[in-house]
Amino acid sequence: MKPVTILLATLARCAAATLSVAAEGKVKVGLIVTLSGPPAVLGGQVRDGFNLAVKTLGGKLGGLDAEVTVVDDELKPDVAVNKVKGLLERDQVNFVVGPVFSNVLLAIEKPVTESNTFLISPNAGTSNFAGKQCNPNLFVTSYQNDQVHEVLGKYAQDKGYKSAFLLAPNYQAGKDALAGFKRDFKGEIVDEVYTPLGQLDFSAELAKIAADKPEAVFTFMPGGMGVNLVKQYRQAGLASIPFLSAFTADESTLPAEKDDAIGFLGGANWAPDMDNPQTKAFVKAYEAAYNSVPGTYAMQGYDTAMLIDSAIKGTGGKLSDKDALRAELKKANFTSLRGKFKFGLNNYPIQDFYLVKAAKRPDGKYETEIVQRVFEDYVDRYAPECAMK
């Protein structure tokens, strides 16, 4: 029996040696996104985009073995705070990436940044953290929330629409959306209708639109509400009135809206048909791996991983030197799928925004496509309020 014992002991020693090497050269990322309820599609895209980047980089970030822990915030701020504490204290992560929704960001910002860990938001970008409450440990790789709505207001104004009908769910994000649209749009607001959150049938509102005959309709109806609105808008024969929307006809809802959404307009910082080699490779790899068309959520997840990769590389793999790491993050020295990308003083991106249009590809899948650039190197409106240098 003796040789066997020796063999086992040797094996155990080898295993232990490998483990300790791995522990030294390892970066831990905690990914907190919404993976339950109907919005799980969005969290899934962020996760898949992030994981795809790590896979492309050979399972490493900045040359260090990457260990990504994915947790579900259930879209509940209190649950998110508990899970984030677990990531920070139990898993001792170096970066927290998340969340998808703004109310969750408001809840987890403090626990993460106060523990001197970097929080990188791949989607939510609230106005307070862009302005007065900006934080050196918080980076946002998406946009400031208002900007997407501003794209459509600007477009409607440039296009010379004289009147618009506005429709949004009756909650904070809905009100912010309409306020964002109205910043640049100076035409007449025929009516501003707020529907209960989760409303499924829009027949009463659509009849009103038909009667008011506005030159354009602007709406913010995320998720299933958007699917219902788009289908019913088309069925009500209103499609001759331009349909401008944010987060209503995008890659998360187009698989259900299908032909009904074709030609409907939206605002975005990227679309899967963007003409650059990195986007072409990304879209191809994403579709092969997950069998769905990536939207901005997936793109932002991917870019976030690339940002972390570039920052760790810049410091030569020294995760303990937080100041050096922060400086490297701020440089944003990576090839973004968006092409141009840099951080402003408030750690929110300065980037271009586009008008996008829902379209059907030759292979029968649906995606948004870029129509024209609306804003160039666009800085959010709250940046001047940030005291960070």
Partner: protein, 306 residues
């Protein structure tokens, strides 16, 4: 307020009412006849919509999907009856609520596991797509007109079934005095099973019918379940006739309130205040209606005599 807009909104209200009736009919039968609180009725509606989406993608057509959904929804309802509900008839309402709430959680998660969290859709049948002008300047989607027609026909068929067949007689008798019906030699358990399966099929039918106009997604039945309870409480628990009238009332008041409430308020309030109040008030209208009806008639419009 133009007449054409009023007419369209009335039709919209009717259509919502018809949809509510299809869901509430099964609920009022199980509640009235079996004295069984079935919170899972909303998820049966959701399952109907998911089945329609699945069959539509398999067969490629709406009609074949509808034809396949009905027996499957019936079978699904019977399976639920045998596996879960049958064991709860003799328990109190609290146990029934707990168990059927568990079924909601289980099925909402179940459809997500099978079909994913992203909303699905069902293609609209070509014959019924598009809209027709009813009057100059008054367009109405054909499919929604068809929905109203189908709902009225279903209501009439239910009336015949309940009031003019032997099965209907037993159901009516069972809702009045189940013990007596049982004593007279009717297998009440079997009757319950039929009623339950039929109710599940009606809910699934409603789910399949709305699938072309609404997105099919997890939890889609949860909001409608609350409205369906409002309907059967207003109509009188166990009464199909009450459910029909109450569903139309709720549909009309909800839609017309949403459409014209803020405008009416503008006559007496400043525009911004009217918007604010209208936004808060319109979702409450149906509950105010329910309170008013219950104040006058505590057992609903058409109470079933016990």
């Amino acid at each position: 307020v133009s007449l054409a807009l009023l007419a369209v909104q009335t039709l919209n209200g009717l259509q919502l009412g018809i949809l509510l009736f299809l869901i509430a009919a099964g609920l009022t039968l199980t509640f009235g006849v079996m004295n069984f609180v079935n919170l899972a009725h909303g998820v049966q509606y959701m399952v109907g919509a998911y089945l329609a989406a699945m069959f539509a993608s398999l067969t490629g057509g709406f009609w074949s999907a509808l034809a396949l959904t009905l027996p499957t929804a019936l079978a699904f309802g019977l399976a639920l009856e045998i596996l879960v509900f049958r064991w709860l008839y003799d328990r109190d309402h609290l146990s029934q609520i707990l168990a059927t709430f568990g079924v909601i959680l289980f099925l909402n998660q179940g459809v997500k596991t099978i079909w994913g969290a992203a909303p699905l859709s069902v293609p609209m049948p070509v014959e019924l797509s598009g809209s027709i002008p009813l009057m100059p300047g008054l367009l109405f989607p054909v499919y929604r007109l068809a929905l109203i027609g189908v709902g009225l026909a279903t209501g009439f068929a239910l009336y015949l079934l309940i009031n003019h067949t032997r099965l209907g007689m037993l159901v009516r008798a069972g809702s009045t005095n189940a013990a007596m019906v049982s004593t007279l030699g009717v297998d009440i358990r079997q009757l319950f099973m039929i009623v339950f399966g039929f109710g599940a099929m009606l809910a699934g039918f409603a789910g399949a019918l709305v699938a072309p106009i609404l997105s099919v997604e997890p939890g889609m039945g949860d909001n409608l379940l609350i409205l369906a309870f409002v309907v059967i409480v207003i109509g009188g628990i166990g009464s199909i006739r009450g459910a029909f009238l109450a569903a139309l009332m709720v549909g009309l008041i909800d839609t017309l309130g949403r459409a014209f409430g803020p405008q009416m308020l503008r006559l007496v309030l400043a525009p911004s205040a009217a918007n604010q109040t209208g936004r808060a008030l319109t979702p409450m209208l149906i509950y105010i209606l329910m309170a008013a009806v219950l104040f006058q008639r505590p057992s609903g419009l058409f109470p079933v005599k016990q």
